[in-house]
């Protein structure tokens, strides 16, 4: 009996191909799209980290007087560690590049130097060997743990790796364990090295840093002790931080805070992700409304069939079983392509996602959510699918038999509601997408203040273990000399940091001779280390004063350039010739034009440029102005570096265009996603409008017949049908505009230079939606035009 029901269900789907195709497309897009995007949101935002009790893992931040987050200094860390009692483990770590040697070819990998408690915080079981722990391993033991990938790629998955000695940045180190791939928090790392001290080593050398409170250079993670609530740990951090701020003048106004690691990792994309999740919800709602509308229409069209079946003795239960079977068959048949769409969409999304989207690697297709989407559509299918059976009450039967199911204004009403809702929801999504795209295009058209075209950058990081201050300076100076002697790279310069690279250095702007400012009014300036020729290579203009030159050597008087936006900090006096307090006094020798450093959407901040000979860091890179392309530049740099130090690989080579591209990856991805949803919503809404209008036309064939008999011209009928569709769409558009104005305040924070109520965006997208609606009405309207007026006479 069930087999027969299924057979009939399949056949009745086959015999109504229009309905079936529309329903299947809707289901596939709805289920597939929702599943794919929800899997991403789930992986990035919702799924807990893969450690025991992941909610107990905190990132500990030092919160500065101006509210900004800062890294830790050695002394603050030691005080914290001593005073904190609510924590089972606290660990400091610092990322570094690591040159692994001692086994043939030198290899450069990403590493992390941590204190002994790191694996007490991230308590993952090793695949092989062991991890180091505070209780068993003391600083200075020269131990390292490698991850699965490095083990496979560099050691051929050899289990004998445990106990092997390698040289990491020149230090002989024993590999004691291999950890699984999932250990990639707070960020991905290939190797973890136990620090020789109770703090990570500083890139500035350990001499005067050990015990300093002013040099902030590493990050801290912790695990709250079992049985202690999160809030208690957070309060304790704050009270310790406050105490240190009271005890030490340099810490005045600052404190500590703790945030669950999972949420701190995604803080920047959280809003965007929730907006996307909302968009997904909208699409699923639209899909459900669409399926519901289709089923209502089908139910109405089948009233005669149901009446006949009832007259032949089918009970209500029997009818419900049959309709139920059809709904479930439909949902299952739609669910299969839905899963396919989900898999494809997800692969597409991951390939399009910017690499810096946090936790992207945690994303897997989530079958629970797929299941949820399928069940949701089945439930909708059942609800609306069996309504006609429930409504087949007996007194109406006669009428249903007579008019063949032409009645049912109430259900047209319900279906209209579905269409209006779809149009409104689609418009909200469209407007959201329109705003994002507008914002994105405005972001991309921002002038960063430096040259973007024909500029190539090459990173030249130096392993600290091999290069002290003096060696660093000499290395960079000789590389630059060689590059400038080569015609391909004649116009080149050294720079730290690269724009939009994430690295930065800051200093507070204290003008000597001006009264001290209270901590919360202090202005910090972006610190840049540059070589002579940088202004020329990057297109930053010298407004007044002089540029650096070869005379600004390590021994000459300390000099600085300031950017235009720093002028206002000098109280109306000419900045040139004034001195800044940077430990030692530094004299300002010139003023240059502003440039954006952190991101395209951040206004330029006051910037301070120091000569690379006087402010040297092992993280510098080369900026080359050249029309010869990245490959030519890269090989020139490689040659120059190899001549000086054959063991030293060069770092990433990128054009400035690529850097800008990457810096806008997240908003681009987000805009792309929202736009895809909006297009999907637009299509679904168009299908919805088409469905309801087409259905109404079918239902009103007798009425249209009457109108034609009364002498309505086909054109008048056509206009009437289009008008009816547009009326529905217009209602939806009005509601959608109101809803969008309310909803888009949520995305205001994601918009750059774009009002959340931009009338151009609202107006043009409303018009687009109406145009789509008109298009969707066109086919049924043509059909209405061709109705045979004879049907009006065939009353029985």
């Amino acid at each position: 009996m069930l087999v027969q029901d299924i057979r009939y269900a399949l056949r009745s789907l086959l015999r109504a191909p229009g309905f079936t195709v529309v329903a299947l497309i809707t289901l596939a897009l709805g289920i597939g799209g929702t599943t794919a995007i929800f899997s991403i949101v789930d992986g990035v935002l919702l799924r807990p980290l893969p450690y025991s009790d992941p909610g107990r893992i905190l990132r500990i931040n030092r919160i500065g007087a101006n509210g900004g987050l800062d890294s830790f200094s050695a002394a603050d860390y030691r005080d914290l560690k001593k005073a904190a009692t609510s924590f089972a483990a606290i660990a400091g770590y610092r990322s570094d590049i690591v040159d692994m040697t001692g086994r043939g070819e030198p290899v450069r990998i990403n590493g992390m130097q941590t204190t002994a408690a790191f694996f007490d915080v991230f308590d993952a079981a090793p695949l092989l060997g062991r991890t180091y722990h505070e209780a068993t391993d003391k600083p200075g033991a020269n131990l390292a743990v490698i991850n699965e990938t490095v083990w496979k790629q560099q050691f051929g998955s050899n289990p004998a790796v445990i106990g092997t000695q390698v040289r990491l940045n020149g230090t002989p180190t024993e590999i004691i364990g291999v950890v699984p791939e999932f250990l990639r928090h707070p960020q991905k790392s290939d190797v973890w090295m136990l620090s020789p001290y109770d703090i990570p080593t500083s890139p500035f050398g350990m001499g005067d840093i050990d015990g300093s409170r002013d040099v902030h250079y590493f990050n801290v993670v912790a695990r709250i002790a079992r049985g202690r609530p999160l809030i208690e740990g957070q309060q304790q951090l704050k009270s310790i931080g406050d105490q240190i701020a009271r005890d030490h003048q340099g810490n005045a106004g600052s404190t500590f805070g703790g945030e669950p690691l999972a949420s701190s990792m995604v803080a920047n994309v959280r809003t965007a992700m929730f907006v996307l999740l909302g968009a997904v919800g909208f699409v699923l709602l639209i899909a459900c409304a669409n399926v519901a509308g289709l089923l209502i229409a089908r139910g109405a069209a089948r009233r005669r069939e149901l009446a006949v079946r009832t007259a032949l003795g089918a009970g209500r239960g029997r009818l419900m079983r049959q309709l139920l079977t059809e709904s479930v068959v439909l949902a299952l048949v739609g669910g299969a392509p839905g899963m396919l769409v989900a898999t494809w969409t997800q692969q597409l999304l991951i390939s399009l996602a910017p690499e810096n989207l946090p936790r992207l690697a945690d994303v897997t297709l989530d079958w629970r959510i797929a299941f949820f989407a399928v069940v949701a559509t089945i439930v909708v299918g059942i609800l609306f699918g069996i309504t006609p059976a429930l409504q087949s009450s007996r007194p109406e039967l006669n009428a249903d038999l007579k008019d063949g199911g032409r009645t049912g204004t109430a259900r047209t009403g319900l279906r209209n509601v579905m269409v209006v809702a779809q149009v409104a929801l689609a418009l909200v999504l469209l407007i959201g997408a329109g705003l994002m795209l507008t914002s994105f295009s405005r972001l991309r058209s921002v002038d960063p203040g430096f040259r973007v075209t024909e500029v190539v950058t090459v990173e030249l990081m130096l392993p600290l273990a091999r290069f002290n201050d003096e060696q660093q300076r000499n290395f960079y100076m000789s590389v630059l000399d060689r590059l400038q002697a080569n015609p391909v790279t004649a116009n080149s310069a050294m720079l730290f940091p690269f724009p939009f690279g994430g690295a930065n250095a800051q200093a507070s702007l204290d003008v000597i001779g001006q009264p001290d400012r209270p901590p919360e009014q202090q202005v910090s300036a972006e610190l840049n280390s540059i070589s002579p020729g940088y202004l020329k290579a990057s297109g930053i203009r010298l407004l007044r004063g002089r540029d650096f030159d070869a005379n600004d050597g390590p021994k000459s008087p300390a000099a600085a350039l300031i950017s235009e936006s720093a002028i206002k900090e000098f109280g109306g006096k000419d900045p040139i010739g004034q001195q800044l307090d940077m430990g030692d006094p530094i004299t300002i020798v010139g003023i240059v034009s502003d440039a954006r450093r952190r991101s395209l959407d951040a206004e330029p901040r006051p910037a301070l440029y120091l000569p690379y000979t006087q402010f040297v860091l092992p993280y510098m890179g080369v900026v080359v102005r050249s029309d010869r392309g990245a490959a030519a530049v890269a090989s020139a740099v490689k040659t120059a570096v190899a001549q000086i130090d054959p063991d030293l690989p060069i770092g990433d080579v990128k054009t400035m265009e690529q850097i800008i591209e990457e810096s806008t990856g997240e908003p681009r991805f987000r805009s792309f996603l929202i736009a895809s949803f909006a297009v999907l919503a637009l299509l679904l809404a168009a299908v919805g409008v088409y469905g309801v209008i087409s259905f109404t036309v079918t239902q009103r064939v007798p009425e249209i017949g009457v109108r034609l008999a009364l002498g309505a011209s086909p054109r008048q009928v056509f206009t009437q049908v289009i008008g009816q569709g547009l009326k529905l769409a217009a209602t939806g558009v009005v509601l959608g505009l109101v809803a969008a104005a309310a909803a888009t305040t949520l995305v205001r924070g994601l918009l750059f230079n774009t009002s959340a109520t931009d009338p151009v965006v609202y107006g043009s997208l409303a018009a687009l939606l109406l145009a789509m609606a008109a298009l969707a009405c066109y086919v049924p309207a043509r059909r209405a035009m061709r109705v045979d007026p004879m049907t009006a006479l065939r009353s029985e």
Partner: protein
């Protein structure tokens, strides 16, 4: 009646064939018929004899498979789709068995509808629609919806709608079919009154008593005219 005058309607050898997969059905098998200006003709016959098909062809709702149809001396077959709509609108008034009022429109709007299709100005439309409703005694229900009326009242509104545009001919398809005898009688009386006022009427019915109201009866059987007789009424 002046027999030499051009007849309002003239049918010559009208045939209508329906095809299904296996059979062809001759709904009309060669009809000859003339209707003069001001005449009241009843087409009678059992169910399935083709009378509704004939009426549909007369009303330009359907086309004949074969034969010629002259309306006011014009070849109907040559008209385009929109010209046919125009002729229906101006020359023909329909009255259906199941009233066929549009449920979403009020009584007044229903009556006004053919005038709107004609592109008439609002003031004139109002005047004509009101006059038509007045004529059938339904002016007081102008603002009601069809569902608020009884069947007899709905049919009176349908008659008002048919006459509002002052067509050359009224085509009535079993106008009393869905009514009880009292209401049916009233609608027949209304038609007779319109006829006395000069209207040309062609009515399909299978009820011989109503057929007797007409000047002339045309009997169809299996798609053929089997008998024509002059009625006793008038």
């Amino acid at each position: 009646m002046n027999a030499s005058a051009q007849p309002l309607i003239r049918l010559d050898g009208i045939k209508k064939v329906f095809y299904t997969d296996e059979v062809e059905t001759h709904a009309l098998a060669g009809i000859h018929l003339e209707i003069q200006q001001g005449e009241y003709v009843a087409i009678a016959g059992p169910s399935g004899c083709g009378k509704s098909t004939l009426l549909a062809i007369l009303g330009l709702l359907d086309t004949a498979t074969e034969g010629t149809y002259l309306l006011n001396g014009n070849q109907v077959a040559k008209l385009s789709l929109s010209e046919r709509a125009r002729v229906r609108n101006r020359e023909i008034g329909f009255i259906f068995q199941s009233f066929n009022l549009i449920g979403d429109l009020t009584v007044f709007e229903n009556v006004e509808l053919p005038l709107i299709y004609r592109g008439m100005k609002a003031a004139e439309r109002r005047e004509r629609a009101n006059a038509a409703l007045e004529r059938v005694g339904m002016a007081h229900r102008a603002k009601h919806l069809p569902s608020q009326l009884s069947g007899g009242q709905q049919q009176r509104v349908a008659v008002a709608r048919a006459v509002a545009g002052q067509p050359s001919i009224l085509l009535a398809d079993e106008p009393t079919g869905n009514l009880d005898s009292k209401n049916g009688e009233a609608v027949m009386e209304l038609l007779r009154e319109l006829h006395r006022g000069g209207a040309t009427i062609c009515m399909v019915t299978h009820d011989p008593r109503y057929a007797a109201h007409a000047d002339r009866g045309v009997h169809l059987f299996d798609g053929r005219v089997v008998e024509e007789n002059v009625g006793t009424a008038v």
